[in-house]
Point group: C2
Chain length 335, copies 2
Amino acid sequence: MKIFTESDIRSFIKLNKEVIHIIEDAFKQLVINQVVMPPIMRIDVKENNGEVDVKSAYIPNKDFFAIKVSSGFFYNYQLGLPSANGFMMLISTKTGEPKSFLLDNGYLTEIRTAAAGAIAAKHLAKEAVTTVGVIGTGAQARYQMRALKLVRDYKEIRVYGRLESNVQKFKEEMEAALHITVIPASSPEEVVKLSEIVVTTTPSKSPIIKSEWLHPGLHITAMGSDAEDKQELEGAVIAKSDRYVCDSKAQCLRLGELHHAVREGQMNKAYPVIELGEIIAGKSPGRINDHEVTVCDLTGTGVQDTAIALYAYHLLESFETIGMTVDNHKQLTVM
Amino acid sequence: MKIFTESDIRSFIKLNKEVIHIIEDAFKQLVINQVVMPPIMRIDVKENNGEVDVKSAYIPNKDFFAIKVSSGFFYNYQLGLPSANGFMMLISTKTGEPKSFLLDNGYLTEIRTAAAGAIAAKHLAKEAVTTVGVIGTGAQARYQMRALKLVRDYKEIRVYGRLESNVQKFKEEMEAALHITVIPASSPEEVVKLSEIVVTTTPSKSPIIKSEWLHPGLHITAMGSDAEDKQELEGAVIAKSDRYVCDSKAQCLRLGELHHAVREGQMNKAYPVIELGEIIAGKSPGRINDHEVTVCDLTGTGVQDTAIALYAYHLLESFETIGMTVDNHKQLTVM
């Protein structure tokens, strides 16, 4: 079995067009292939404000599938530690044997999540986009803006964050990295009203975006909500949009924005929900004109994890000097 | 992070009274403590006759909890490989960080499962037992008989298996290991009628034990059924028993013998089901006389996995020369 660490993985796996293509294909497999994607396993550790998710998906005819463990422990900052942790395992689909551990500390999740945002924009945003908005200033906000730049050649970012110092850091980093202008906004409303694409990247538990802020041509990608109690859009945002798309209907009905829209009585469960993979597979159109308001609801799926893990493994495996081989039957010596 | 392999683990972790005590406490925690035990995640790989289960449980006030991946790929024998694989991970309940990988290839599952069988017999079998029966001749049949010997000083085993050569091997090994007599039986019926305790250890998909074979004083532990389609007891066995006990009510209603008894109309869901932990915690009696017929339905629980993984980790950790330390942030060198 091969073990790779965060440093190995960060050195060789980058957020680029190839990764976007890999994740796009994963969403397509979900629709055209007999992918086995079980419900997310969740373990809450309430006494330490922690949550652990296990995700997985088996894509037929692939050599391996991934099981991913990811956690968020929100008191970790008190210990000077990042709140997020995570790793992926690749299991042989021929024999069930574990083949690789990717100890990425959540890095692969960041890039497969950002790739999904780019894919949503690719199919649902207007072709010509000058201004994009982002709500949230964390690592995923940065990755989303980087990924978006690979599919739309935008010129400026309107950003809203609660802490001015974080907004300033975001501005400096993104302007240097992407050669665009970053303009801090005084409210989420300002971001939404002035942008053609808006990405929400927060762990919010109450809706941030209101339906009265929607305007023709707007595309929103809400990627923060990945648990029952998280919500970034009020239900009416989905109800009033012209085209609502999600990563996985089953998952979004349980823990995405859709589930809140249903709960609020804005939608019913029979509403014809489009999955991102259906658009990629050509079974449903993406945006059809420059006036539509489109919304994409991303909860993060096991099939993305299997796709990114397979991609990372095959790339890392090709460099023989990377990683560590462990015979899981033999005694180990101390390093 | 610390990594231990099968060889490390087999050398130091043995099936003994301490392990039985550890697993007994785990069942008790399930009843007296706020254990978080999510439903089993299952990934079926039908094209290769494979199945992968993920189990987990968080026991409050423990430093770590386990996530276990276990698989059965039933064409593996064609490749000269064992069908079962598996490993456990320990995650910090303080920070969510991965702390250890126990690459046991299913060994810890074997012993925590056997321990559960011994615990069932300890509380539900008669005190004085001469003859025990086992249906199945695989590794778990052996572990069950070893574990049972730690709680009941039986003198002979009646064994039934479909392959005579396997029965013969079982007989030789068990007679040498346990200093008892092993007598092959010509049918499951013979095993049940002549034994005071019967353990079923098969992956059967149709019932093996019939209710007309039950006799006063009999205790049955059915540990084979761990999936919806597996069944070792006809529903009437549970319905006609005086005391039916299971490891987890929620799990047994979904995939244990209980679920078949309900499906067959022999039981209804309102039937007062006793969990093993309730007996251990003193909330419900075990066997109350030598005439009762008792049944214990074991599906295998995440709380057993967390308990055995914690036990193994702390024991292995105490030997500083065992295992391998990996910094999951730093680059790894090839071994």
